[in-house]
Subunit: 215 residues, 2 copies
Amino acid sequence: MARRTPTIPEATVARLPIYRRALVELDESSAINVSSERLAEMSGVNAAKVRKDLSYLGSYGTRGVGYDVDYLLFQVSRALGLNNDWPVAIVGSGNLGQALANYRGFTQRGFPVAALIDVDDKKVGATVHGIEVHHVDRLEDLVAELGIAIGIIATPAGAAQAVADRLVEAGIQSVLNFAPVVISVPDGVPLRQVDLATELQILSFYQQRNAASDR
Amino acid sequence: MARRTPTIPEATVARLPIYRRALVELDESSAINVSSERLAEMSGVNAAKVRKDLSYLGSYGTRGVGYDVDYLLFQVSRALGLNNDWPVAIVGSGNLGQALANYRGFTQRGFPVAALIDVDDKKVGATVHGIEVHHVDRLEDLVAELGIAIGIIATPAGAAQAVADRLVEAGIQSVLNFAPVVISVPDGVPLRQVDLATELQILSFYQQRNAASDR
DNA sequence: AGGAGGTTGTGTACAAGTTCACAAAGGTGG
DNA sequence: CCACCTTTGTGAACTTGTACACAACCTCCT
Ligand SMILES: NC(=O)c1ccc[n+]([C@@H]2O[C@H](COP(=O)([O-])OP(=O)(O)OC[C@H]3O[C@@H](n4cnc5c(N)ncnc54)[C@H](O)[C@@H]3O)[C@@H](O)[C@H]2O)c1
Ligand SMILES: NC(=O)c1ccc[n+]([C@@H]2O[C@H](COP(=O)([O-])OP(=O)(O)OC[C@H]3O[C@@H](n4cnc5c(N)ncnc54)[C@H](O)[C@@H]3O)[C@@H](O)[C@H]2O)c1
């Protein structure tokens, strides 16, 4: 395995999509070059960090000039594996699942929603934003047939681990979990958890501390 | 200002809600005590980390025994500022805003959705899950009248910064942003960004790397 | 009362991430 | 072709976060 990228730090990986977004915006406004300083400003970080992060991908800037927007966008996209689309399946067609299915942003960014999956017979067969809702019994088939790469879990917390297990068993490549519960998957299956209530609690901590120190 | 908490590291703060969730679950299953090891397992971290994290809050365990579930839950909740409710307003009553408004989990965890706010006259006046949609013109009034603590931004990216500015100006205490754009708020106003497309891109990076090293 | 068994709290070493600061290098204009 | 300006790329210092390992301490049993 020829390792082109010796290893990119996790913290850097988490910022690449932010840089990418800034680059898309610059590209749309027909900018040719961008300095690390400008990119930093647009991304809400400091310029040295931008340069160090980008240097893990390779040496794509020009001293005295900056980075070529087009070229850097290409390189960042490539590093993120966005050359081809990654079809996603959303498991759980409730409030959240349907809102996600309705969202144009995913397909736009290379993550087409290929299937909605639910256990509730009343929901199966419906279509949301042109996407059919399938029964969870067919999960394994769907993953195989549609070449699903990413499973998004939007079921109640109680079902999340079982769904994750089935997705992994079916050969999914990575998992994004919205249920407010810690789930575990085998080593080597990338997993991200997004928990909105957790985010609010973190905010609560800091605002409470602000209030205390104002007193 | 009597500083009871000399300073809790950010990484620790981010984990407290996870511990809290595990403690709620233990409490519901009538557990009396819990060891750092068990708590670690439920939270998906290692036991030393749990102990160190909890030690920032104070010394609430008993050697040889573990932590009293009830008492620790109380202490963690207090540290997070969850003694009282924090009313939230959701700005942008689209797909996502409505899904959030429909979600019971927020009120349950002490973040009642007190208002929905939109700019679109066709949406103003409707009620979602018992919550009225108000016009954005009334944003400042609503924040004051309803004692809104947290503003959730679920508008298109283009409107996010302006909405954030108005929320801050109106005296909001913290901001949770779902729009895929970096927004800035004054120092001292806690801000969290949740970007689902970013999460998918991070997954894409790692699964692509897995694929490359398998080859 | 004293010892055995078990778990916390924390000092310390280590790893990861951030920031600084500057040499190296490209561009430009004379 | 050279001096000057600008901005990158990166070693090194520093800060933050994680893991280890064990003394301190509690409970229970004999
Ligand atoms: N709605 C939100 O804004 C929101 C916010 C934060 C977190 N969440 C979390 O996201 C998850 C979904 O929330 P929601 O509001 O959409 O809930 P919901 O009850 O509206 O939807 C859940 C859906 O999952 C389906 N389901 C249940 N078990 C299943 C299984 N084993 N396989 C497939 N489908 C199954 C149900 O039939 C239902 O359609 C929950 O875990 C919730 O805590 C939701
Ligand atoms: N829907 C999703 O699943 C999803 C997923 C990820 C991110 N997002 C992001 O969340 C945001 C909302 O997404 P959505 O799908 O709900 O979009 P949407 O278009 O359905 O809803 C946006 C709402 O905001 C309102 N709005 C526009 N400008 C406003 C303003 N200045 N003040 C108040 N309200 C205003 C619009 O009238 C509309 O009702 C977007 O930024 C989107 O990128 C959504």
